[in-house]
Each structure stands twice: as structure tokens, then as C-alpha cells.
Symmetry: C2
Subunit: 339 residues, 2 copies
DNA sequence: GGCGGTTACTTTTGCGCATAAGTTGTACGC
DNA sequence: GCGTACAACTTATGCGCAAAAGTAACCGCC
């Protein structure tokens, strides 16, 4: 690895001159010298030592992407196919802007923060953080942060959240189910916080607007831990006949549920209609193909990265960015109007 | 961010003493002093500035994970659910060893190498690289490299490849199909290089060992680009009746194919048997559940990282590490013996 | 013809850390 | 009571870079 010093020596000039050429400072170096240096740089294939540069400039050109991984297989965010698409969107965007991405996967927010401090990361994108975590992070960390799909941060100043209009998406889906004649619609999820809550609210609102009463028994809770999943699915399937449709909080759950139903001889959409949310490969490749709410995961990644980049260049960004969704009607919903 | 210098000043001692405590150099600092420093460090929540440390030590504690992303949706490696699992395995392992992971996703190997040089990355894990790329990389890069699923590197010295015993896995699967009475077995893939070639060879070997002749028309080529995929699938489905079984090079293709077959009224496994390779969520959640060859992707990630770590500590590692596979018999193969 | 301004440089400093080299003080052996 | 050994420090140096401060030459101008 050749250094500026060595180049300066070989070219018989000072390191500052070389450095100035590298940084394109016009007017501070004569065209002749510039050309000479540039050619030499190319010849020796010079690459700067980032550690030295960062040390001198007190910046890092690193953006941290922290994924909060949970302990268990089904709970583990990283399992979902869409995570890698999201990562890809972020990486591409920041790389094009001259930044690098450091990836942390951890369930320990404290550990993540230590890394962040050590590396003097310029900014952070947080994904999969639960409510309190995001807030705790903010207290220690004075640099730009963008959260993805974190609802709890409204009102906090130096945050921007990039998410979906989950409530609207769920509202649209529930309305669609109702338009197809469904009245007994369950909502399946594993919790009632954040994104899940927003989707639940959208669903409830659609019921209400159509004068359908929501009962707490309409909420089906799936327990995604490996040791619980089977019992949980059994329980849900045994209650399937109470409903004409189940609205799942994600495609992953929708497809998991459909497999469980099929294993018990319950046909989709003949016996029951199932819908998801996300529109990922799982639902696209399932037969019957899953009716779901589409979100563009890659642009979610890109938007998050763009937003962070904006903050890094000193611009203000809104507290909430809600990306649109749209319905994708495929084949897991039966029209029961003519019954 | 508090520095060693500042700590030393406040504690009224030299930076070297503080540094020695941080590095746990026993015998060079008295227990009293040590304790005093340690308490202070904890109190102020000291984190070292990695740029300064790396600059002083000429190392980076960074491991690069480079994914070669291809241009198109279906071709894009990052789409496959198992990629994020692999990333997770690598990240966890190196983090536990005190390293950090820098992720590059790029189709431009030159760009990746520039990053690698700039950051003075200690080691590299390459995934999804085609044959030549890996070799080109090696010429420029003198540090430890671990390739994942790259077959072309045999014989090259400072490489280790971590992969599967693909040939054996495919051999086992083809043998199983034959044991179920199948004689007209197609092999579906998008290329005949690297991993795909090894799997193809295993399949051919099993045919040969069972005195079944392989014809070149038994190789079904899927063209995964968005603009080709439909036509490609149509073509393959139209030839389905020529075979009793199709062995797909991946679960992704197997599930994609099954969806296409179903759309054309061809039932699996009644009309044709389909098997995959990888054992990911796609096949697990499909109904009928996919018979496939299992690979443990997470341990592939862990093994790759472990191997690199070994190299970093100066140990020799073998040129090839082949992880075992095993058959997972589910419901997409029909036993046609009693016909 | 001395002075401000500009161009094209060079010298110097310091970022935060690790470490080689140097400095005390003290215990111990003979 | 003198040399040696060692423990427990401190001082000084340099990693590669950016940038502030310094220098020297030249040009124009009243």
C-alpha cells in the first residue's frame, strides 16, 4: 500500500501538494504538477488509507445498519426473504454516495451502540427495534438516525421513521374482504405493537366503517417460537370454521397458515379466504397465489438510506415518511356475495 | 468521545499506563493503578477510536463480505431467502471474535477490491463470484480469502473454498428418484458451471451407476431473467410429459416450476415428481412439501467465518471444505415402482 | 520601488492510539 | 554497599493523512 508520503518523495514534492491533487483543490496546484501527480497516482493505483483519513477528519464514511435479531427461528427477522432485499437497497444507495455499510445483527442494543461509538459511525439505520430500544439509543447517540418500521418514535426530534402507511394498507385489504361478502374476518398476528398495531387498527377501522363489530376473539395470536408454533397453528386451525376469512399480518404467516390448513384438509379459498401483507416471494409462488398488500421493500431501503444521507448533509427530514401500499388481488379470497 | 490522553490527564498518569490497562498487560501495571483505571474507564464509558487504533497497528479488524449481485430480479442472489441466513452466520461468528463485518454488494469486482484496499480489510469472504472473478481477485489481494461455493479455485494456494458436497448430494437425490422407479429424470438449472455443474455431475453419475443413459435433452435450461422467465417456464412445462421426474438445482427453481406446472393443470407428484436442493423455507412451506437436499446455510456461514479467522491467526486451512448434505424426503415424489 | 495580492508551493502540526525506549525506585544477593 | 534485576512507571515516536500556517517568487500598480 503506497502512501502519500512515498509518492511525494518519488515525485520530489511535498505531501500537501499530492494531497491537494487528490482532493481536487483547483488553483492551489499548477496544471503541470497536477497532471504529473494524477498520472503517477494512476500508475501506482493509489488508494487512501481510510483509517488515517478518518482520524484526521474525524469522520468515518460508515453508515451502520443495525438489525435487531431475535432469538428464535420463526421470530428471527433475518429469516424473512425481504430482509436481504432491504439490505441490498440500503447498501446500494449509500455506496453510490461514497459511504460504506457496516452491518450489525444483534439482539443487544448496548452492543450495537458500542460498535457505533467505536467506529464513529456517521449515521445509523435501525431495523426491527422495539419501541423502547429506539428511544434508549437516541439518548446516547447524537448523530443522525433513521428507523425503519418503528412506530414509537413520533414526537422525538432527531429521528426519522421510514415505514408504510400500514393502517391504510390494512384498511384497504379489510375493505376488499368486506366487498367480497366477508363479515367474519379474523386478524392474525403475534403482537399488538408497532406495525402490527397499525395494521390491526386499519382492519378495525374498516370493520367499523362497515358496521361490523370487532370482538376480541377475532384477534388470533400466533406464537412463533419453535416450541409453540405447532400448538399455536393447531389452535388457530381448529377455530377456522368461525371465520370466512383470516387477514394475516404478514405473508410469512399467511403462507405458514395456509400450509397448516392444507395439512388439515381445509381448502383455501374454498373453505376459508386468507390474505397476507408484504407481497413477497412466498406468497407469489404459493398456489393458490396469495392475495396481499404490496410494499416495495427495496425502495424502503433506498428511502431510508436517502433520508439518512440527507440528514448527513445537514438537511431536515420529516419525522415520518409513509410509503404507499397497494392491494394485489390474487387467488386466496373467495367472493361469497352470491351465497 | 473521551480519549486515552484525557483519561490519563484526569487520572494524573501517562497514556501508556492507561493503554496498558486497556490491553490487559499484566505485570506492567500495579493492581492499584489497574483498578483505578478500570473503574474510571467504566465510569466514562470509554470506547477506543478504531481509526486511531488501526492506524497505529496497521490492521482493521474488519472482514469484508462481498456478495456478487447480478443485475436481474430472478438472477439476483440476494433474493434468495438463504442469503440473509448466511450473512447472519458470518456476522455472528466474526463479531464474537472481535471483528466487524463490512458488507459489499456489487457486480463489479473491481469496485469491491477498491473498497477492500481502502479499508485495509483483514480478510475477505466472497460469495456468488464466478470463476474468473475469484482468480482475478487473488492476484491483487494478498490477504486471507475464503470463497463460498466457488469451484474454480482448486489448486490455488491462498484460497479456501467452503462449499457442499454437491456431487454427493445430487447423487443421493438422483439415486432416491431411481429407487422410486423413476427412469426419465430431467435436470433443471440455468447454467453448467460451478455448483450447478457439480450437482449435474452427481445426477449423471447416479444415472450411470444405474445404467440409465443421459441424453443432452434431459438437461432443462431455465432462463431466469424477468423477460425470459415466462417463456422459459412455458417451454419446460410443455416438455413435462417427457419425464416422470425433474430434479431442480435449487428449491427456488423447484417451487417456481411447481407453481408454473400447477398453473397448467399438471399435478405434483401425481403427474410428475419434482425435487429441489437447499431445503429452504420456500420448499418447507409449499404444499405438497418439497422433497429436497438439505444444506445447513447458517453453518456454511459460520464455517466460512471460522476458516477465515483461522487463517488470520496464521493457521493453515485446507483448500476445500465440503459440508455434508442429507436428503429430506417429503411429498413431491411419487413412487412409481408398482406401476 | 515598496507594497498588497496572488500563485504555487513547503513545513509543521495534530488526529488517538500503540509501543519502543528510557527512567525511577526498590528489593535482593553476596 | 554495590551491582543486578525487576516492577512500575513516563517520554518519545510514528502510523497516514488533512489542513493550518509559513515561504518564496512574481506581478502589477500608484
Amino acid at each position: 500500500m503506497i502512501t502519500i508520503k512515498e509518492i511525494a518523495k518519488q515525485l520530489n514534492m511535498s505531501t500537501t501538494t499530492v494531497s491537494n491533487v487528490i482532493h481536487g483543490k483547483a488553483g492551489e496546484v499548477s496544471p503541470d504538477t497536477r497532471k504529473k501527480v494524477e498520472e503517477f497516482l494512476k500508475k501506482v493505483d493509489y488508494v487512501p488509507n481510510i483509517n488515517a483519513r478518518n482520524l484526521a477528519q474525524n469522520e468515518s464514511k460508515i453508515i451502520g445498519l443495525a438489525l435487531k435479531a431475535r432469538a428464535d427461528k420463526y421470530e428471527n427477522l433475518i429469516m424473512d426473504p425481504f430482509v436481504s432485499v432491504l439490505i441490498g437497497g440500503v447498501e446500494e444507495t449509500i455506496r453510490n454516495a461514497g459511504y460504506f455499510m457496516m452491518l450489525y445483527i444483534s439482539s443487544d442494543i448496548g452492543e450495537i451502540m458500542r460498535h457505533v461509538s467505536t467506529w464513529n459511525v456517521d449515521g445509523l439505520i435501525l431495523f426491527g427495534m422495539l419501541d423502547d430500544d429506539g428511544i434508549r439509543v437516541s439518548e446516547k447517540y447524537k448523530k443522525p438516525i433513521v428507523c425503519i418500521d418503528t412506530y414509537s418514535i413520533e414526537g422525538l426530534k432527531h429521528f426519522t421513521n421510514v415505514g408504510l402507511d400500514d393502517e391504510q394498507g390494512a384498511y384497504d385489504m379489510a375493505s376488499y374482504l368486506i366487498s367480497q361478502g366477508h363479515r367474519k374476518i379474523a386478524f392474525l398476528s403475534d403482537n399488538t405493537k408497532g406495525v402490527d398495531l397499525a395494521r390491526l387498527n386499519g382492519y378495525k377501522k374498516a370493520l367499523q366503517d362497515n358496521k361490523i363489530k370487532f370482538k376480541s376473539s377475532d384477534f388470533l395470536q400466533i406464537r412463533p417460537r419453535t416450541e409453540d408454533i405447532e400448538a399455536s397453528l393447531e389452535e388457530i386451525c381448529s377455530r377456522a370454521k368461525e371465520f370466512t376469512a383470516i387477514m394475516c399480518v404478514s405473508d410469512l404467516y399467511a403462507v405458514t397458515l395456509m400450509a397448516a390448513l392444507e395439512d388439515r384438509g381445509i381448502s383455501v379459498p374454498e373453505d376459508i379466504s386468507i390474505v397476507g401483507f408484504d407481497d413477497n416471494m412466498l406468497g407469489q409462488l404459493h398456489r393458490p397465489a396469495l392475495t396481499t398488500v404490496h410494499q416495495d421493500v427495496k425502495s424502503k431501503g433506498i428511502t431510508s438510506a436517502d433520508t439518512l444521507l440527507k440528514q448527513l448533509s445537514g438537511k431536515k427530514t420529516p419525522n415520518q415518511i409513509k410509503l404507499p401500499t397497494h392491494l394485489v388481488i390474487r387467488n386466496t379470497v373467495r367472493n361469497i356475495n352470491k351465497n
